[in-house]
């Protein structure tokens, strides 16, 4: 068997098959559905692990299929792809476990998990897309298959949020498609190769290329929630907790940020993009987003909204890192792709536990939650410290490389953005932790023992955030190991910049 061809295909296909099978499962067949879910997610982790190991040994994985005349569908695994793919695979398994616990006894579970699996299919496709066409196809697919998850509850508020979500993302998708088509007309099919394949065109067709870059990045910027394209994200918070965790930590928002990385380094080429003068404005927009998101997060009482604005802010670290360019800043941006994912999913899952167990949704109701749910809030605190950038949590490593990289690239102002953002992060995260642990507990919650069960919350809900928090801790503490996010990011950047 030609594994170099089949493994990349199996990566999205395994979730696709799982998804289709789950649609066929009847609502009450809980065991069958759970088995399928966990089997699909586990198989994917094994696949990713195998590919990571084999890639580290120097094997290349690529699948090329005929799509249209002169236009191939390409799935190719490089280290950047592996980073995104392994992040998705791990978090997917954990979120699935969480979702099984979260949706216990609620209606339409087959529909939910079916689309859930289709989401991971699209994300895997985005991760290992080997050319712009493949990327766009999976990107649009992601837009479509997440909609049913946003509106899952079917309430008026959910439907409204769904409309906003579609409005933004379809608009973004159209711009992306427009940009891709224009680029195709200019330069032919765009393979993702380091440094891009625009060649001479960078000199001869400057204006068009700048416009195309604008279209592509605006299209991607919707999902990456760059201000002012971020409006859909806080609204989408009506979705169930696992969806928020998934959308906000991994799939949708990361697809946008990841796309920006691909466009800059693999379509245009870092030097060429810098030569076109498009990176400076992008970096400024990212910086504005970082500060704006943090400022908005400060005033949110609704916990999920506070997290959503924090996501808006944190995502732009990635954009900022790659827009500043230079190998160190790129490491910072790319590693934050992983770190922000693990940290933010921890926070969202914890908030889900709090809401499910105690019915608390707002900061003003959080007094003493930490004494009733010490493990949950402990993990939340770890995630919060990570977001602020306190070592040894993963966020520190991101901030460190972003800062060093920005200075190496001669962009000292970025340091000011990072410092401001750290202060603001502390300002909107630490009060949550303080209130939860150091204010008296409300009596109506009763004590842990009265709730029954061995743990403070349902085990299926409690275990995933503990796991992700430990991952975030390990990612920072053992950043020096080769298969840590930092290690992988460095390998990925070495592919771009040379060792």
């Amino acid at each position: 068997v030609n594994w170099e061809f089949w493994l990349p295909l199996l990566l999205p296909a395994s979730s696709l098959v799982t998804g289709v099978l789950i649609f066929l499962v009847r609502e009450e067949q809980f065991r069958l559905r759970t088995t399928l879910n966990l089997l699909g997610a586990s198989v994917k982790i094994v696949l990713v692990a195998v590919i990571v190991w084999e890639s580290a040994q120097g094997r290349n994985f690529e699948a090329r299929l005929d799509f249209l005349p002169g236009l191939d569908l390409v799935l190719r695994v490089d280290f950047l792809a592996l980073l995104f793919a392994s992040l998705s695979a791990i978090l997917w398994l954990l979120t699935t476990v969480y979702a099984i616990g979260y949706l216990e006894d609620s209606p339409n579970r087959s529909r939910f998990f079916g689309f859930f699996s289709l989401c991971v299919t699209a994300t895997m496709g985005i991760a290992i897309a080997g050319n712009l066409v493949t990327f766009v196809i999976f990107y649009e697919m992601l837009t479509v298959v997440t909609y049913p998850l946003v509106v899952h509850r079917g309430t008026g508020e959910a439907l409204k949020a769904g409309r906003t979500y579609l409005l933004y993302t379809v608009f973004g998708g159209v711009l992306l498609l427009l940009g891709a088509v224009w680029l195709h007309a200019l330069a032919g099919p765009q393979e993702f190769v380091v440094g891009g394949s625009l060649g001479e065109l960078v000199e001869t067709r400057r204006t068009e290329l700048i416009l195309v870059f604008g279209l592509l990045v605006t299209g991607l910027g919707v999902k990456a929630a760059i201000v002012p394209l971020h409006g859909w994200l806080p609204q989408s918070m009506v979705a169930p907790a696992p969806v928020s965790a998934l959308l906000h930590a991994v799939a949708v928002v990361k697809a946008g940020a990841y796309g920006i990385v691909r466009v800059i380094y693999f379509v245009y080429g870092a030097e060429e993009a810098a030569g076109l003068g498009v990176l400076g404005p992008l970096a400024v927009m990212a910086a504005v987003t970082i500060v704006y998101g943090s400022l908005r997060a400060l005033t949110q009482d609704d916990l999920k909204k506070r997290l959503a604005y924090s996501t808006v802010s944190q995502l732009s670290y990635i954009t900022l890192g790659v827009a500043v360019a230079g190998s160190l800043a790129t490491v910072g941006g790319i590693v934050h792709l992983m770190h922000q994912g693990i940290l933010k999913i921890t926070l969202f899952l914890c908030v889900g536990v709090i809401t499910e167990t105690l019915g608390v949704r707002r900061l003003s109701e959080m007094d003493g939650v930490g004494r009733r749910l010490p493990v949950t809030m402990g993990m939340f605190a770890l995630g919060a410290f990570g977001m602020i950038g306190v070592p040894p949590m993963a966020g520190f490593v991101s901030k460190w490389y972003l800062g060093i990289g920005a200075l190496a690239a001669g962009e000292g102002w970025v340091l000011l953005v990072l410092a401001t953002s750290s202060l603001l992060n502390a300002a909107y995260f630490l009060p949550i932790v303080h209130v939860a642990f150091f204010r008296p507990t409300r009596e109506e919650w009763g004590s842990r023992q009265e709730g029954g069960g061995r743990f403070e919350a349902r085990a299926l809900l409690l275990f995933p955030p503990v796991a992700t928090a430990m991952l975030a801790l390990a990612a920072g503490l053992f950043a020096g190991v080769w298969f840590s996010p930092l290690g992988l990011a460095m390998t990925a950047v070495a592919e771009i910049y040379g060792p």
Partner: protein, 587 residues
């Protein structure tokens, strides 16, 4: 060996984790908890350096080792933490929060130990931040409004400090090209933004070291924590800021005369400022916190010399190490003594006399009385003061003894507060668990600084035993201070001083700042702004609201501040200082 060192550092944190689950393990861990600094203490007492070893898989490539500076810091830090741990077991014997206290006590301890052995910037930053944040629950332990206010101010300044450090470190690493201590310090000197980088590092660590004007959290947080936590906060954690300066400023490598002068000047101002505000306090622990600000100001002298005169650094470092050890142990003993005295107040006459003797000894040591560790430390500092540039040696020669006058006054004030606690503050039983660790610390205070130069081959001569001149040099400030205190007492009794000294609440500069912010917030809320400004105004007032969460209780308590003889004494000191300065200027 460095693996062992790392294990010794992480041991307290491991025991803290064992405290979390209920049951038998917890009982065992609680019994173990006070003794967890012992392996680290053993490594410090070994008297040998431990070669810096890289741990490439840890963080951004950690480097762990124990150099001379690390050994000395580790010695007094481990001693103090052990004493405080044993003391805490007795102090919190009947406290339901004892497990919570010890979890964070141990985590903070790991942070404090870890930063002493860290030899790269990321690991240092990790342990420093770990210590800072783990200490927060100790600060707010009491849970009343005073503790919450102290916690807020502590956290805000700590986060500010951490952020300054991150920015400073990044700039220094970029310029220096490596994460190890030497490269970072060299990077500070080599950076094209040298002034900024040095300022960020001075300020970032200055928060922890209680440097003016970043000290405002300290007189709030140190006293409000449980007494054993106050001891380590004011005795050893405050020194983490000092160590940060030693580690990351290019001391002995490059001269930064501008910042050096600022450090020297601010240090001297702090030395007097701490005393002046300190004598106006009516709480023993707050007075001690202000004494810490004052003493850390004196420690600035060593750093200032290192910044202005690179050749003088190795002697200045030795003096700084001796002084830090002396102050760490003495301040720890004084804080623990406050609790002992409070318990002894209800015990017999012998106990009270013994307590008075012990506290008196520690107070005399801080003031620098002959034959105490203070006289040794001050002697070293006086010697290296000659290495400072320009007119500084003359100035220091005059002002350092004068700070000792002030310290004597402050210590007299402290003793009067600690030995005669009012009814509300006299509490607890004088158990062995309370007095034994305190007594052990006093013994350590009596001997350690004398042994330091020989034990660790410091670049200073061990002091020759007292000769008449030396005795007089260290004795006159004490006599002068005591005379001042006596004079103040007499004058006050006869109501001869018509001047009313100002009231200064703990937190000094913070109080008018809070008041201004409150006024501004009220003004903003009652004023109409054009629409684009409303969200900004809203944000500002909301944030003030979050900060100010009413704490009337502590405010009224502060308003009841009695005017006593101490403000008068403080005022006299200012007059004396001004007179001497005038004489100096005229001469």
């Amino acid at each position: 060996m460095s693996g062992l060192l790392l294990a010794a550092v992480l041991l307290p944190a491991a025991v803290a984790l064992l405290l979390i689950p209920r049951g038998g393990v917890r009982v065992l861990a609680l019994a173990l908890a006070p003794w967890t600094p012992l392996p680290a203490l053993a490594l410090a007492l070994r008297g040998a350096e431990i070669e810096v070893t890289p741990f490439p898989w840890l963080l951004l490539g950690a480097r762990i080792g124990l150099d001379l500076t690390g050994q000395v810091f580790l010695l007094f830090t481990a001693l103090l933490w052990t004493a405080a741990g044993v003391y805490a077991r007795a102090y919190l014997r009947d406290d339901p929060g004892v497990v919570r206290f010890f979890i964070f006590h141990l985590l903070t301890l790991t942070g404090n130990l870890g930063l002493l052995v860290a030899h790269d910037v990321a690991t240092f930053y990790l342990f420093f931040a770990f210590m800072t944040f783990a200490a927060y629950p100790l600060v707010v332990y009491a849970g009343d409004s005073a503790a919450r206010r102290a916690g807020r101010v502590y956290l805000i300044l700590a986060v500010l400090g951490e952020t300054m450090l991150l920015a400073g470190f990044l700039l220094a690493v970029q310029a220096g090209g490596g994460l190890d201590l030497e490269s970072v310090a060299a990077g500070v000197a080599a950076s094209p933004r040298q002034g900024l980088v040095a300022g960020l590092i001075l300020g970032g660590f200055g928060v922890k070291a209680g440097a003016l004007p970043l000290h405002v959290w300290l007189p709030l947080a140190h006293p409000v924590a449980p007494t054993p936590a106050s001891a380590v906060l004011s005795g050893s954690m405050i020194k983490a800021g000092l160590l940060g300066w030693i580690r990351f400023l290019p001391l002995g490598e490059a001269a930064l005369p501008g910042w050096g002068a600022v450090v020297l000047a601010l240090g001297l101002v702090a030395a007097f400022f701490g005393v002046l505000i300190g004598v106006l306090q009516d709480d023993a622990k707050t007075a001690l916190a202000y004494s810490s600000i004052s003493q850390m100001g004196i420690l600035n002298v060593g750093i200032g010399i290192g910044l202005t005169n690179p050749e003088g650094w190795s002697s200045a470092l030795a003096a700084t190490l001796a002084y830090a050890t002396h102050h760490g142990l003495a301040k720890g003993a004084l804080f623990l003594g406050v609790g002992v005295a409070a318990a002894a107040a209800t015990a017999g006459r012998t106990a009270r006399l013994a307590t008075a003797a012990g506290l008196g000894f520690a107070a005399l040591a801080v003031a620098g009385a002959p034959l105490t560790s203070g006289s040794v430390a001050k002697g070293y500092l006086k010697e290296v003061a000659a290495l400072s540039p320009g007119a500084w040696p003359v100035l220091l020669d005059w002002l350092l003894p004068l700070t000792a006058v002030g310290t004597t006054l402050l210590m007299a004030r402290f003793l009067s507060l600690a030995l005669w606690p009012d009814a509300a503050r006299a509490h607890g039983h004088l158990t062995r668990g309370l007095w034994a660790p305190w007594a052990a610390l006093l013994v350590a205070l009596a001997v350690v600084v004398w042994a330091l130069p020989t034990a660790y081959e410091l670049e200073v001569e061990p002091p020759a035993l007292p000769y008449p001149g030396a005795v007089w040099v260290s004795i006159w400030p004490i006599v002068a201070g005591l005379l001042l205190a006596w004079l103040a007492l007499v004058l006050r009794r006869r109501r001869a001083v018509g001047l009313v000294p100002p009231r200064v609440a703990a937190g000094d500069l913070l109080v008018p700042l809070e008041r201004t912010a409150g006024r501004a917030s009220r003004l903003l809320r009652t004023t109409q702004f054009p629409p684009p400004l409303t969200p900004v105004v809203d944000l500002a007032t909301r944030w003030y609201g979050l900060y100010a969460e009413a704490d009337h209780e502590s405010r009224t308590r502060r308003a009841e501040h009695r005017l006593g003889l101490w403000p008068t004494a403080g005022l006299l000191l200012v007059v004396l200082a001004l007179a001497l300065l005038a004489a100096l200027a005229a001469g």
